[in-house]
Subunit: 405 residues, 2 copies
């Protein structure tokens, strides 16, 4: 049996009307005898509501119970979708994480899937019934409910597609695919037809919210093609798949930006071995991720260290840094929240020269100053003043001819 896994995000099931629309799409997908598994998110806004309730109880909700609470959102939308399909006289059944044993580790609120027992889903499909799976949730060895973190339903869907050997995992969302840049900023942004796992992974970590990074990792590992598309149209979206010749036409695939980082600088610390460790160890221990780092060594043998963290970690990072600064006798600690990270991504960079030079000169021509730089084999990122974000995205998009088919 040919199997397709379809995942519907929160906006796609955001109202009863939209759930009925999804039901019709699933029934259609089943025609011709395909086995259909639907993975659903909570109705749009529901998860935020539940998070607010938890924070009304306490500032630091217990994470085991937090997952019990949050997992109700997907349970409800799955049940409503099954009702909608059955009201058409078709077969459907909803499944929760524990009912098909989506086994995860015990990291509540950010658990990772270990295995899935998909037999019940296969039985369901063999009965010509649409199997609906509550996304985002699993169960640990002890039978506790766990959740997979924001965007976790994507991961549920891709993991199911891998286990079931599905031909494709379709991710339905409120945009109709992955674009060369944010269409709200860059009006001639183009929908990308095919993109490699590697590029999509870079994009997910550079600020693109279309797919959960972990879902792309799993797709890559098990070679599951992901089709990102809109639940409100029939149009083809973007295929995320193994790198192939067709994709290599473009040197750069997309321009991305992220305005949710803060730049912190600690000035005049002694430039001796072990100093960076003394600065970054307490920050790591506070579970704060550091993105970019640069170090400038002055002629006096002292150094300035600059790095970026997520904006909602700023307060905590600053407190730690001020403590470290006192110990190291650093002269000052400064914070800059008015920054943005602008990046280009493309597997074509591996075999093309001059990409970085073009990137820097394009920004220089507009008088945009580059504060920090970070590169990988397939991406270049830099930190600039926040006010230039839109301009930078537009000129880079044009410089690399991304609007052309």
């Amino acid at each position: 049996m040919e199997i397709v896994v379809q995942k519907y995000g929160g906006t796609s099931v955001g109202s009863i009307e939209k759930i009925k629309n999804v039901a019709r799409r699933l029934i259609k997908a089943q025609q011709g005898g395909r086995g259909v598994v639907a993975v659903v998110s909570a109705m749009a806004g529901k998860t935020e509501q539940l998070i607010d309730l938890a924070h009304e109880v306490t500032d630091t909700p217990d994470m085991r119970e937090y997952d019990v609470l949050l997992s109700t959102g997907e349970q409800a939308s799955g049940a409503l979708l099954a009702m909608a399909i059955k009201s058409h006289g078709c077969k459907a059944r909803s499944f929760l994480g524990h009912q098909i044993k989506i086994l995860t580790d015990e990291a509540f609120s950010k658990a990772r899937i270990v295995s899935i027992e998909a037999e019940k889903l296969l039985e369901e499909m063999e009965k010509n019934s649409i199997a609906i799976v509550a996304g985002f949730q699993g169960v640990d060895e002890a039978g506790n409910i766990t959740t997979l973190g924001r965007g976790g339903s994507d991961t549920t869907a891709v993991a199911l597609a891998a286990v079931l050997g599905a031909g494709v995992c379709e991710i339905y969302t409120d945009v109709d695919g992955v674009y060369t840049a944010d269409p709200n900023i860059c009006h001639d942004a183009r929908k990308i037809k095919k993109i490699s796992y590697e590029e999509m992974l870079e994009m997910a970590s550079l600020g693109s919210k279309v797919l959960h990074a972990r879902s792309v990792e799993i797709a890559k590992k098990y070679c599951v093609p992901i089709h990102v598309r809109s639940s409100f149209s029939e149009e083809e979206g973007t295929m995320v798949a193994v790198e192939n010749e067709e994709m290599e036409k473009y040197v750069v695939t997309s321009v991305n930006y992220n305005r949710n980082e803060t730049k912190l600088t600690i000035s005049n610390v002694p430039d001796i071995p072990g100093v960076a460790g003394r600065i970054f160890k307490p920050i790591a221990e506070a579970n704060i991720n550091i993105d970019m780092i640069i170090q400038n060594v002055g002629s006096d043998g002292n150094a300035d260290l600059t790095f970026t963290v997520a904006q909602n970690d700023t307060k905590k990072a600053l407190e730690i840094l001020q403590g470290v600064a006192r110990e190291l006798k650093a002269t000052s600690v400064s914070v800059d929240e008015d920054i943005a990270k602008v990046s280009i991504v493309g597997v074509g960079m591996r075999s093309h020269y001059g990409v970085a030079a073009k990137f820097f000169s394009t920004l220089a021509k507009e008088g945009i100053n580059i504060m920090m730089i970070s590169t990988s084999e397939i991406k270049i990122s830099c930190v600039i003043e926040e006010k230039y974000t839109e301009l930078a995205v537009r000129v880079l998009h044009e410089a690399f001819n991304l609007s052309l088919e």
Copy 2:
């Protein structure tokens, strides 16, 4: 270990503030080393919201999925309550129906509990942790989620108390006990200190909403004392327990009423064997419960049959009756929705004469006409015009001296 089971209804957990109040009560109950199990309902209004969502999808929601949907209410309130307890530095853990295998039959939306595996709750209590159980829900042999019907959390609590050998099952609600009559109608109604299971069962089926009838059946079977009390005060409420001498002081225990029934009459049907069957069989097949029945046989050998059904079954019952009337050549079918059933309950009736006579003469004195009568060993019910409901309750309450301590 001495164990207490406490059940908190929807109004008792109706807001985060109220949930925090319940958390404090549970922590207090645990002091002195008692094992505490809390059973929670969904937050007030939540179940209605979910039912509305289901009916927005379809008029006839699939019952398996209906239970998956509805059970999320208790899951959420249980998690929130556990968070609230833990925020005080105390131990707690929430459990769902499937996690302690509250095994039920497969009658979705009105399932009956078959067995419970309570070991995990005992382990939890031995760790000095408060075990919180989502009320109203269970799981069938195949692992499907089931629910126990309206008021089902009472049943969860009493069944757990029975399995765990708890000394008492405390049912916390928005009233502070069981009253001799509705205090909103009868201002000198008195809180009953002790009442027998038999009387409470009659009251539950006569319109009292304090306890779910099934919970009283289980309490009676396993001799679990139920303490009905308010979650907003420390006052003693009403003990529901085995009939004992202390209770026999009163001949009549309470006056009850129910305004949610309709009277239907089919006139001039032939008075021959099998006619009642032909009338009531199709009504039973439509899952409509009939409460009271009377038959008047005229001198012409024809009979009038009158019976009552729940008001929300009126439309369906009327359609069926009109069909039957045509077949039986009955002269007419009439409907009366402006009726009320008024009842008195008391185990003392068994050993006292003249109770019925006093009941009838009390109503007659006020000019209240009795349309139908039904009796059991411990209750007398009659149907009267709805407009006399309050008056009838008050004069009966006075005639049987129910306000006196």
